[in-house]
């Protein structure tokens, strides 16, 4: 079954219960995730923040089906995750646009892999280009795009897959703060339009508050969930929400928790 680009993909519920993950190498064992409970409801925007190197990306790899948990359960729509169903579209930290492909050919790459015909893939891409503000850049090579445009192209490559769950791993980490703000607003528009469930990793507390319905704060490694905050800021969220007292309150709360975990992570080495 294929839906059109403008129709929202059915959103998915994702749930992790008691998930453990340990990396084993010749030098020993590194426990990365310990008894992690995590969930995102259909259509929800959930962020994960934590000290760097705490295992957020490992969490993502499990949900993306790139790796398997040692213990615990991982369900999508109440069924155990089957990576073969491809419920997840993944957007990594680097845009990873292939330099040898034009923008449009980068965008249709996942469709090409899925065996979608050329004409249909192109038609689906053409419908997205105006929305992503990249009209006229279809046949440009990625090197000629600005950082923000590259991220929009990468996001388009994620959205075009029409998967019910999107995983975004610090997608705006490398952008300057102005472009970053633009991209955050833009991401909310896209989310509004398509209604995916979004799980978002970030270092940036303000980014997490501005974007999310809920925020998970992870502990230092091995990562557990330290706290879970519901962002009661209402939607749609204008940019000046960051100047409200409630925003400042949430920020202070998160900053306090994160600094404590950061200290522990550094102490652990």
């Amino acid at each position: 079954m294929t839906s059109t680009a403008s129709a929202p993909a059915a959103a998915a519920t994702v749930e992790l219960r008691g998930v453990d993950k340990t990396f084993r190498s010749r030098r020993g064992e590194v426990p990365v995730l310990r008894d992690v409970d995590f969930s995102a409801r259909a259509g929800e925007f959930v962020s994960v923040i934590g000290p760097s190197g705490c295992g957020k990306s490992t969490l993502f790899k499990l949900i993306a089906g790139l790796d398997r948990a040692d213990a615990g359960t991982l369900t999508v729509n109440d069924k155990p995750l089957d990576p073969k169903d491809h419920p997840v579209a993944f957007m990594p930290q680097k845009d990873l646009l292939f330099p040898w492909r034009s923008v449009v050919r980068n965008v249709v790459l996942p469709l090409q892999i899925a065996g979608v015909g050329k004409a249909e893939a192109r038609a689906r891409a053409d419908r997205l280009f105006p929305l992503f503000g990249l009209e006229g850049f279809e046949d440009t090579y990625p090197f000629a795009l600005s950082g923000g445009m590259r991220q929009r192209a990468a996001l388009m490559r994620t959205v075009i897959q029409e998967r019910p769950l999107m995983l975004l791993d610090e997608p705006f980490g490398a952008l300057d703060s102005l472009t970053r703000t633009d991209m955050q607003e833009f991401l909310l528009d896209v989310w509004d339009e398509f209604g995916h469930t979004i799980v978002f990793i970030t270092h940036d507390i303000r980014e997490a508050i501005y974007l999310s319905d809920r925020i998970y704060v992870m502990t230092a490694r091995p990562a557990r969930v330290r706290m879970e905050i519901t962002v009661d800021l209402g939607r749609p969220r204008p940019l000046d929400v960051i100047a409200t007292p409630r925003f400042a309150e949430l920020e202070a709360q998160l900053l306090h928790a994160l600094r404590e975990e950061n200290r522990q992570q550094e102490a652990a080495g």
Binding site: K61, P92, L96, P99, W100
Partner: protein, 289 residues
């Protein structure tokens, strides 16, 4: 990515840069001032060898050197012109061997490197043997090739393949290995099979490495052809050099060397042009930065 060494002549480039910023830098048609700038860039590469030839010429005539020991460049050219019929016959033969041998080598290298990339056990099994194959002294194996395969085309082609396929294989393997693991993960989340990952990511990503390997190998190819002919052939620049040396025609030896150099440069340029045709994105990105 910075500009590469071969065409980097910083002292001459500033006049070009301002127009480059205005766009249209990537388009091939040079404007009037662009053509002058292009000539200025080429000039040092042409003037240096011409200068060296001039020094050579003057030394020979002033010191009255015996032409069978060291002929003057003008003598080499005029004698080569007189012998052009036979020179062309030998050149044709060497060209044929080089092109056939090098083409087979490229195909063999791509097949082997691809198989080694996809099959870890094959890579582990083959790598030591491949390296060992490069320590075989050409000087020892070339005469044996004559004993085994006679004076025809086969021993020449085999020697060229033996000498040239290794740099290409290594370059390709390096290129494959340079694939970003994150990009592999990304394709896996898209549901890509192993083969798709290779075709869509690993292979195109390795192309710049591949062409570097090709350029290195191309010069070896001509050398290998000459060497294979030198130890025994009916035709070819190698055997012509050997014969000319034996009859004290030093001028023709130099003439043949000159032709070899021209073949190498031509092959190098063909590969450079091919690289621009196959990877327009690579050169466009380099200029853009």
């Amino acid at each position: 990515m910075s500009e590469t060494a071969p065409n980097a002549t910083p002292a001459l480039s500033p006049p070009v840069k301002p127009s480059a910023a205005g766009g249209g830098y990537a388009s091939g048609a040079p404007s009037g001032s662009g053509r002058v700038a292009a000539l200025m860039r080429l000039a040092p590469g042409i003037l240096l060898p011409l200068g060296l030839l001039l020094v050579w010429q003057l030394y020979c005539s002033w010191a009255n050197v015996d032409p069978t020991v060291l002929p003057t460049p003008t003598r080499i050219v005029s004698q080569l012109f007189d012998a052009r019929q036979i020179a062309w016959e030998h050149t044709e033969q060497t060209l044929k061997e080089t092109v056939i041998g090098f083409s087979i080598s490229v195909v063999v290298a791509v097949v082997i490197a691809t198989a080694m990339d996809q099959l870890a056990w094959l890579r582990r099994a083959l790598y030591p043997t491949l390296i060992a194959s490069q320590t075989i002294p050409v000087i020892a194996i070339a005469p044996l090739m004559i004993i085994w395969f006679g004076f025809g085309l086969l021993p020449k082609v085999l020697l060229i393949v033996l000498v040239t396929f290794f740099p290409i294989v290594v370059a390709l393997l390096d290129g494959f290995a340079a694939t970003e693991p994150e990009a592999m993960d990304l394709l896996r989340t898209m549901g890509a099979k192993r083969r798709q990952t290779f075709r869509l990511l690993r292979f195109p990503g390795a192309l710049p490495h591949f062409f570097t390997g090709l350029r290195i190998s191309a010069t070896y190819a001509v050398l290998a052809a000459i060497f294979a002919e030198y130890v025994g052939a009916f035709h070819g620049l190698g055997i012509w050099m050997s014969q000319s040396k034996s009859s004290f025609r030093t001028d023709l030896v130099f003439g043949a060397i000159g032709i070899c150099a021209l073949i190498s440069v031509a092959l190098f340029m063909v590969i450079a042009i091919l690289a621009r045709v196959v990877m327009p994105w690579y050169y466009a990105a380099k200029k853009g930065n």
